[in-house]
């Protein structure tokens, strides 16, 4: 399978605080990946590095054979090409909705890539239709619900039909209905050439959105595997702070059970 991202032993720090240390991974075309980790594990930072917004202080990142360095991104042609092919959906939709109306927001990408006016309008309306938000066309972002904002954010990147989708906690802060809509969308891309990399800490969606999982902890990959492999490895999940252990007592004996809330009912032994 063709390679999409080759990340080789990268490190990155915010001021003096290390966020990524010695991280290596390989992602192929059409892969659906989940980056699993607790807050602070470095998954958001990794996504930004993959989107060439941050550049590692050590190691290398290549996208389809091209090195993602600051110098390379200064070249206009490569820049525009990359920005069209790789898209990042931020965790906080408010930062991604910086245009006056929904229409303007979705039109922003094509406009920056210098499409002509008619194509922009046509494509934007198509995308709004696809995401079922056509009625929000002229709405300003401060009058949207969380679910609507998320759909606009998705529309604003899908309008360019990118090859790679980087999703940062796409279901956080959403109500269950909106969550399932997002998950459905990601499932649609199964088997297509689109590469989808989702960073999340919500274990319950992992099986639906990914075929391969990387577990992150303290800025590095501590495990890799299929969803069922990873999700059944409770020690690993505990270590990565993705599940927690409650203590409770029965008739004078104290038990400790690692489990996760919101997952399907589970039985445990006493």
């Amino acid at each position: 399978m063709a390679s999409t991202f080759e990340v080789q032993d990268i490190s990155f720090s915010y001021e003096a605080i290390p966020a990524i240390r010695g991280l290596t991974l390989h992602i192929g075309e059409g892969d659906r990946i989940a980056l699993l980790g607790a807050n602070g594990s470095g998954k958001s930072t990794l996504l930004r590095i993959l989107d060439a917004l941050y550049f590692p202080s050590a190691g290398s990142v290549t996208f389809k054979g091209d090195a993602l360095t600051e110098k390379h991104l200064q070249q206009e042609e490569f820049f525009l090409n990359f920005r069209r092919r790789v898209a990042l959906v931020f965790q906080n939709p408010d930062v991604q909705l910086f245009n006056p109306t929904v229409f303007d927001e979705v039109a922003y990408g094509p406009l920056q890539l210098q499409w002509n006016k008619e194509d922009v309008i046509r494509r934007v309306d198509e995308t709004l239709e696809f995401m079922s938000i056509s009625r929000l066309r002229d709405r300003p972002p401060y009058r949207l619900s969380e679910g609507e904002k998320k759909r606009v954010a998705l529309a604003s990147v899908l309008v360019l039909d990118p090859e790679v989708l980087l999703l940062d906690e796409p279901t956080a802060t959403l109500d269950p209905k909106s969550q399932s809509q997002v998950v459905d969308l990601i499932q649609q891309w199964k088997g297509t050439a689109k590469t989808v990399i989702t960073a999340t800490h919500q274990l319950e969606i992992v099986e639906d959105i990914a075929d391969r999982v990387f577990v992150l902890e303290a800025g590095t990959v501590i495990a890799e595997g299929t969803p069922s492999e990873i999700l059944s490895n409770t020690d690993l999940l505990l270590r990565a702070n993705l599940i927690h252990a409650h203590r409770h007592s029965h008739e004078g004996v104290v038990h400790s059970h690692p489990h996760l809330h919101g997952h399907s009912r589970h039985e445990h032994e006493h």
Binding site: R48, Q96, F98
Partner: protein
């Protein structure tokens, strides 16, 4: 002003700002006179009338423009009651009060004297006070009608097509968009502090709290700007901003523009 009420005032201010914004959006969708004109024509036309208000030297001419402004307001489905509340009373309370001493201290021929109080109102004083108040009222009416009848994005695009630099228009757009987010954030911060405050705070404690809230808001704002920057980069921003403007002038726009400019010039000439 009592100890807690300064917080109340601030919170009320926030609510007022939000409701003004909503009011704007509502009025802009009405099928009125201004709404049917190209936004550029509206901006230029209203601006021309405001300029003629400033140029006029005679009360009668300014009063005439005020009547025109009211007529435009009515034709554009802007309620006179909301205009009164939002503009006329406010201006009266502010400029009206400021103009009051002018009645007494402007030198000139006395109109009315109260010898016991050593007070004298001059003709010039009356004229200047009325002139000022009328000017301010008329200009404010015009700008409010423009703002109420025009969607913000259209104002921006009108400014852009009138050759305001793209960066400035982009900054205005982004600022406007995030004002509401920050108002909401500040609102929440103040409300939570309000509910956590037991008893009455001293003046300096209140000041500290206000400054601290402003400080937190600043940190959040700077962080927000970093994130927005990354989001813009991610979608192809390289320093230049491209906007979509698709206004086309129709015959009624030419007619409207002519009407505005003619009225403005006529008033300025008659009021010279």
């Amino acid at each position: 002003m009592s100890r807690h009420s300064f917080l109340e005032s601030t919170l009320q201010g926030f609510t007022r700002a939000m409701s003004k914004a909503l009011q704007s959006e509502h009025a802009a969708t009405q099928p009125g006179l201004l709404q049917q004109l190209d936004p550029r024509v509206r901006v230029i036309g209203i601006f021309a009338l405001v300029v003629s208000v400033i140029i006029c030297r005679r009360l009668e001419a300014i009063a005439a423009i005020l009547l025109v402004a009211i007529a435009i307001a009515v034709a554009s489905r802007v309620s006179l009651a909301s205009l009164a509340k939002r503009v006329w009373l406010v201006v009266l309370g502010f400029t009206g009060v400021i103009a009051l001493p002018a009645l007494f201290i402007t030198p000139g021929e006395p109109l009315f004297t109260a010898p016991a109080l050593h007070l004298s109102i001059s003709v010039q004083g009356v004229r200047t006070a009325v002139l000022l108040v009328l000017r301010v009222e008329t200009a404010a009416t015009l700008t409010t009608v423009l703002v109420l009848s025009t969607v913000w994005t259209h104002i921006l695009k009108a400014l852009r097509s009138l050759h305001l630099p793209a960066e400035i228009v982009t900054m205005l757009a982004i600022t406007h968009r995030y004002v509401f987010l920050l108002i909401e954030t500040a609102n929440q911060m103040f409300e939570s502090r309000q509910s956590r405050t037991v008893g009455v705070l001293s003046g300096s404690e209140q000041r500290k709290m206000t400054a601290r809230t402003a400080g937190v808001l600043l940190s959040k704002s700077i962080e927000l700007s970093h994130e927005v920057y990354l989001a813009m980069l991610s979608r192809g921003f390289r320093g230049e901003v491209r906007l979509l403007t698709d206004f086309r002038l129709k015959p009624r726009d030419y007619a409207g523009l002519t009407a505005f400019l003619f009225t403005g010039c006529l008033a300025a000439w008659m009021g010279r």
